[in-house]
């Protein structure tokens, strides 16, 4: 599209071109008021932003007027009125990334690209840099996304490397498109690798290239099978090599240069000549390098996958993530072969009430956060007297620090669709909508493809034998607003309005989308439904605790050795999750707390981590189950900083409708800002508590009512930390305005710190302890990393 622009010289022609292209988009998307979000998304997809001329054309030719367009376009985070650079760098500021220093990484990118304050785009127009709420790759924190490439474990000192890697990958991609070709041999085996967002962040794409290259060189023909997430996001890149005899060997933490060796070990090159040649070449290689001596192949099974074992063994029962690491997410035959769609077929020949009864008896509760019994919700919608009913799958997972829904949508799209269709048949809805958040492009692509596959098999338009009604399924892409996870706000956004929640009652079950009864279920809830139908309510209810049945998928991240996506029975304790599955604390720093439920949840202190986790137990501790993000916090984390992080998040995501959330949350943030910058007082703590309680009682929607939870739970369990801040001390050094960096007597004057300092705050003084110029120091922490003697540390200003 930029090329087309270049050719045009006169502004008038440019305007005409924009109008023409906008007309085509309008023709495709529609002219009704509720089409506004898809339409704006299409315009932004075409032009990279929302040009004024395109919007004028929208006012002229559709039912959308200026007031609606301004209201909607400025509400949702996805839309922008100014053009961005050619590439967009998105620095994830999710909880896990935050505690691992995302802000410093953001600053580092800006510094590396020499960006002036208050600008988003570099002067050459090549890069735009922005912060993003959560990319959902929490186990690889800090994470950065450049266009569609994701980079994990980005350290502030390595941003140049990331940029170089991106540039290189871009170049290779261009070349790769020209040289790709297909082989027509019988495959000798299968290599499975995860291609989820987080796997890609760890470099799966490079592994894939290495496999392809090695296969070409060796003449080996294997099937490269992208599979569903293993969940061991901290151990990636990970491949499984499956030989025709059914033997599977797993290689976690793989490097691209190990691939060739592995392939040679498992498969025979095509011709004896090539085999000989490669052996010869490898011997020469080995003479020159010592790489092979610690070769992955020579590691015993125990050592190679040893760290992975307890991670997977700790999760005996898989419901939502059944088939993990084996199933191709988009292979419908494989899904059917594993029992997929059996439940759906059973449902369409059963009385809908019997299906609802089954769900009721299973005791399953909504996985989206509230924990409302799913069966009762279904019953309400089924009983509603209306010909027109809707079912919506809520995939607007916005909690920073949570990525369960993303992985379920990317890895198990067929299971989610099956659950959605079952729900539609059970409640008698003819229209079903998959609402997926815009930040998950991969999930949208997979869902679209999965839906197409189901359509080809006649599974979507299948008529229920009881009601003889067809279900029409569509996908709606969210546009970047956390509040739209709230069901009434979600409905407002589908209707083409700002995501303002509305007062309940009436509940969506009575009066929802376009005024009709609407069932809204979370992705995970729906992905558990096929199991309940297939194996029976009793079998499901036997898992978990009496009041919280079944399994729960958690996103485990933070200061834990092995993060990832896990599925455990309800009632597992947090300590089991942290120690057994997570492998204990990173760097053996003691556990301080586990944050559950994201911005609506709370921090559970280490001493309460032996409580079995279910909906009621968590609520009792001042937290909530939420959607299932678990961020592990260590003694190095400051609880005031964590509370401030969440309050700042909600303050930016509040819809702005009611006073308590719009102004109240901002005032809480003001107080926390004062405390975290050393200007707070003891009175501030009391004011904060009072305000937090009022907000939780008087806000209109769930977002506002739960927004104070991070503050209230940390006040309840960690009040002493607030008091320390009021006295001017941040013991962990997380609140950067309260501390400075200082060099201790352990310094030998090696000057490493002076060499890495990007702000020239450390003078070059060989064999002497350098003084740090605190006025220049940006507290980026690079010197801390560089110092081998741990001779630099944070000290409180007061």
């Amino acid at each position: 599209m930029s090329c087309e622009n270049c050719k045009i010289t006169s502004p008038d022609e440019a305007r005409q071109s924009i109008r023409r292209r906008t007309d085509a988009l309008i023709e495709r998307v529609g002219r009704r008021r509720e089409c506004i979000i898809p339409l704006l998304q299409a315009i932004q997809g075409e032009f990279n932003y929302l040009p004024a001329d395109a919007l004028e054309r929208v006012y002229e030719t559709t039912a959308i007027d200026r007031a609606q367009a301004i209201s909607v376009a400025t509400f949702y985070g996805q839309f922008r009125m100014m053009p961005y650079g050619r590439h967009t760098i998105r620095v994830c500021c999710g909880t896990a990334c935050h505690v691992k220093g995302a802000n410093i990484v953001y600053d580092a990118f800006r510094r590396e690209l020499s960006m002036a304050d208050d600008t988003i785009t570099t002067s050459d127009g090549r890069y735009s840099v922005e912060k993003i709420a959560c990319l959902g790759c929490c186990a690889l924190a800090p994470v950065v996304q450049i266009d569609n490439r994701i980079f994990g474990h980005v350290q502030p000192g390595k941003v140049r490397e990331v940029l170089d890697a991106f540039e290189e990958a871009e170049q290779q991609a261009d070349e790769g498109r020209l040289t790709r070709r297909r082989q027509a041999q019988e495959p000798q085996g299968e290599i499975r690798l995860g291609m989820e967002n987080c796997c890609q962040a760890s470099g799966t794409a490079e592994i894939r290239q290495a496999v392809e290259r090695a296969c070409r060189e060796l003449g080996i023909n294997v099937t490269l099978k992208p599979v569903s997430c293993v969940g061991a996001c901290g151990q990636v890149p990970l491949i499984d090599v499956a030989t025709p005899d059914g033997h599977i060997t797993r290689y976690p933490n793989l490097q691209p240069d190990q691939v060739k060796e592995i392939l040679l070990h498992h498969f025979r090159p095509a011709s004896p000549l090539r085999r000989l040649f490669s052996i010869a070449m490898n011997s020469v290689d080995n003479l020159h390098t010592d790489q092979t001596w610690d070769n992955i192949l020579y590691l015993p099974e125990e050592l190679r996958t040893g760290r992975l074992r307890p991670f997977l063994d700790g999760q005996p029962l898989r419901i939502s993530t059944e088939g993990y690491g084996q199933m191709n997410p988009l292979d419908i035959d494989e899904y059917i072969h594993r029992g997929g769609f059996e439940a759906l077929h059973r449902v369409i020949s059963t009385n809908p009430q019997a299906v609802i009864d089954e769900v009721l008896r299973s005791g399953i509760r909504g996985r989206g956060g509230g924990g409302f019994p799913t069966g009762r919700k279904w019953q309400l919608v089924a009983d509603a007297d209306d010909d027109e009913k809707y079912v919506i799958c809520n995939g607007d997972e916005g909690d920073p620090g949570a990525f369960m829904d993303r992985i379920l949508l990317e890895s198990y799209p067929l299971r989610v669709i099956e659950g959605l269709l079952i729900a539609a048949h059970a409640v008698g809805a003819r229209r079903a909508i998959l609402y997926i958040r815009a930040e998950y492009p991969q999930a949208v692509i997979r869902m679209r493809r999965a839906l197409e596959l189901c359509r080809q098999r006649g599974l979507v338009e299948i008529g229920s034998k009881v009601r003889s009604e067809k279900v029409e399924v569509s996908i709606f892409e969210g546009a970047g607003a956390f509040v739209c996870g709230e069901e009434t706000a979600l409905i407002a956004s589908i209707e083409g309005r700002r995501g303002f929640p509305s007062l309940r009652p009436p509940y969506p079950a009575e009066k929802g989308l376009f005024g009709h009864p609407t069932l809204i279920n979370n992705v995970e809830t729906l992905s558990q439904i096929p199991y309940i139908i297939q194996h029976g309510a009793e079998s499901y209810a036997s898992v978990g605790t009496p009041r919280s049945t079944g399994t729960k998928v958690f996103a485990l991240a933070g200061k834990v050795r092995r993060g990832g996506l896990i599925e455990v029975p309800m009632g597992t304790t947090l300590r089991q999750i942290v120690n057994q599955i997570g492998g204990g604390m990173e760097g053996d720093v003691p556990l301080k707390a586990v944050q559950t439920g994201g911005p609506s949840g709370g921090c559970i202190p280490a001493e309460l981590c032996d409580t079995p986790v279910d909906f009621d137990a968590l609520a009792g501790m001042g937290a909530i189950m939420g959607s299932g993000g678990l961020v592990v916090l260590s003694a190095d984390d400051c609880m005031v900083d964590v509370a401030r992080y969440f309050v700042r998040f909600v303050s930016g995501e509040s819809c702005g409708k009611c006073t308590f959330c719009r102004v109240g949350v901002k005032r809480m943030l003001d107080i926390l800002d004062r405390l975290a910058t050393g200007q707070g007082t003891m009175d501030d703590i009391d004011h904060l508590e009072e305000l937090a309680r009022d907000i939780s009682r008087a806000s209109l929607c769930g977002l506002g009512r739960s927004a104070p939870n991070p503050v209230l739970s940390t006040l309840r369990h960690f009040r002493h930390e607030y008091e320390q801040h009021a006295q001017g001390r941040c013991p962990t050094g997380s609140c950067r305005q309260m501390v400075h960096l200082a060099v201790t007597d352990d310094c030998i004057g090696c000057t490493k710190c002076a060499q890495v300092c990007p702000a020239d705050a450390i003078p070059f003084t060989p064999y002497q302890r350098p003084p740090i110029d605190t006025a220049r120091c940006t507290l980026c922490g690079l010197c801390l990393e560089a110092c081998d003697l741990n001779a630099i540390r944070y000290e409180n200003n007061r």
Binding site: L503, D694, A698
Partner: protein
Amino acid sequence: MKITVNHQPLDVSPHRPLIESLRAAGYDVPSMCYAADRRHQPSCMVCMVKDVHTGQMIPSCSTLPREGMEIETDTEEVLGMRRQALELLLSDHRADCEAPCTIVCPRGIDVARVLLHYDRGELSAAAAVLGDTSCDGCKAPCERACRRRTVDEAVSIRSLLDEVRRDGLEVKGERLEVRAKAGAANNSNPSPLTPNLSPHPSPLTPNPKSDLFCSRLGRFTDAEKERMKQLFTQPSRCLHCACEGSGKCILRSLATNAGIRTPKYGVQSSLPVKERIEVTERLVYEPAKCIRCGLCVYNTDDGFTFERRGFDMRVVIPEESKSHVSDEVARLCPTGALFSVKS
């Protein structure tokens, strides 16, 4: 339908919002974002009542009664929460109810109004406000309090007032009338602060209403000071701090009733201070005074609209949509953000 209000049974219509039934029954329930029979969404939360069964505070303007509902409207808890809602709204309300010059005038002159007439070229009206008051012997605290002083230099209030006295009274035939008016208005109310300084101590308007809540704009930032210099270039240089819509301001009267003197959380807002937008010839919009209730948004068609979200959310009126706004929408605005100017 039967519900219980403050432990008393009440018969209500199931189709009327609670607030209407409560008010009809004589309960005092304030509200700002609600207007009977007009489109609205609950936002301000000052109409809160407590649902005893759930313990939640609910907006009575948007809640329909349910059978057996039990609510409280006048407990300390409910009143405290309403006060909290007002505190929060006021903390985001960077505007002056009264002009500082008027507040400090020891002779009770409505300086702000004089300057307003002066800048509109209505000298005789300005003189009428001044009446027989005199500035002789006064140390002009008005000029010390003047907000313009924090920008660059104070407005020369005294010399301007003298000019009004001189030129305004020369307008033919008005002199006598003004005198008569001034004399009739008040002879029995000498200002307690200035007992014997003037031969004509009685002001035309009563002294600033000290019993009323008075919102303060606070300090300008450096950027704002620059903007003020560019915005206010008329002869008097007056910033016209006094709120022209204060007469109908529900926020002020509720704050007064709640006994609020100074806002608990300070005042800090993201809205552009002192911005003044002429929507139509007779309708003015000052965004800084807006509480974002949305009544003007919901009740105009393709006119006022919301922009952004959260604390930064504001009500805007695009230039192209101004013609879609009717003047009567000013009556819906619960504050002085939208008001009619008489032409």
